[in-house]
């Protein structure tokens, strides 16, 4: 199956962060978008760069790397970021929330 956005996300994150763990999951099917959409993603990223950074700073780095992809085509991005030492202790990631229909009248930017 053709997944241009997911491929682009994966490539950029790989280049930027040289991650030890990278999971990119398309969660678009859980939201009010057409089948096959690539709008809502969940990313789990473990890399050395995150050591010593607060969560907010880690997310800002990711948003920076993906700037031209947001808010379109990527509308929502659930981020779970770990330094390698944290990942060893607790490699568990919570599930993302389901849609509440807001995007029927609003097509942009949440997470």
């Amino acid at each position: 199956m053709n997944k241009p956005v997911e491929t682009e996300l994966t490539q950029r994150l790989t280049q930027q962060f040289s991650p030890q763990v990278l999971q990119v999951e398309n969660e678009s099917h859980r939201h009010s978008v057409p089948p096959g959409s690539e709008t809502h993603f969940k990313v789990v990223l473990v890399c050395d760069q995150f050591e010593g950074l607060r969560q907010v700073q880690r997310h800002q780095k990711i948003y920076q790397a993906l700037a031209s992809l947001m808010p379109s085509p990527v509308h929502a991005l659930a981020l779970h970021t770990f330094a390698p030492s944290e990942w060893k202790e607790q490699p568990e990631v919570p599930a993302s929330p389901n849609c509440m229909g807001g995007s029927k009248h609003d097509k942009r930017d949440h997470a």
């Binding site: 800002q60 807001g102 997470a111």
Partner: protein
């Protein structure tokens, strides 16, 4: 008033403020719903802005904070994060103390 000035004023006048889609009682997005739920569970008063009703704030805030999505929670003028961070902090008990300290100050 300039939009950035409005944002700065909101941040300085409200120790806890959530920029979200919808309102706390009627969130318009699952991410906003989850965030507001965690915040309400902390038991302190907070301000909110429904960014669906304020498109100019919505656009400016993204640049101001270097954060492209909503919700965005600010405590004492500083960006705490979006849904993932706020939820995680709540589960660790960190959000409760952050919020209580902000109100106590």
């Amino acid at each position: 008033m300039d939009v950035i000035e409005t944002i700065k004023q909101q941040l300085s006048q409200n120790p806890i403020i959530l920029y979200m889609k919808g309102s706390p009682n009627a969130p318009q997005c699952g991410f906003s719903a989850r965030t507001v739920q965690a915040l309400m569970a902390c038991g302190e008063k907070f301000a909110y802005v429904n960014i669906l009703e304020h498109p100019e704030i919505r656009e400016s805030l993204k640049t101001y904070s270097n954060w492209p999505t909503f919700p965005q929670l600010y405590v004492r003028g500083e960006l705490v994060g979006g849904c993932d961070i706020v939820t995680e902090m709540y589960e660790k008990g960190e959000l409760q103390s952050l919020v209580k300290d902000a109100v106590a100050q």
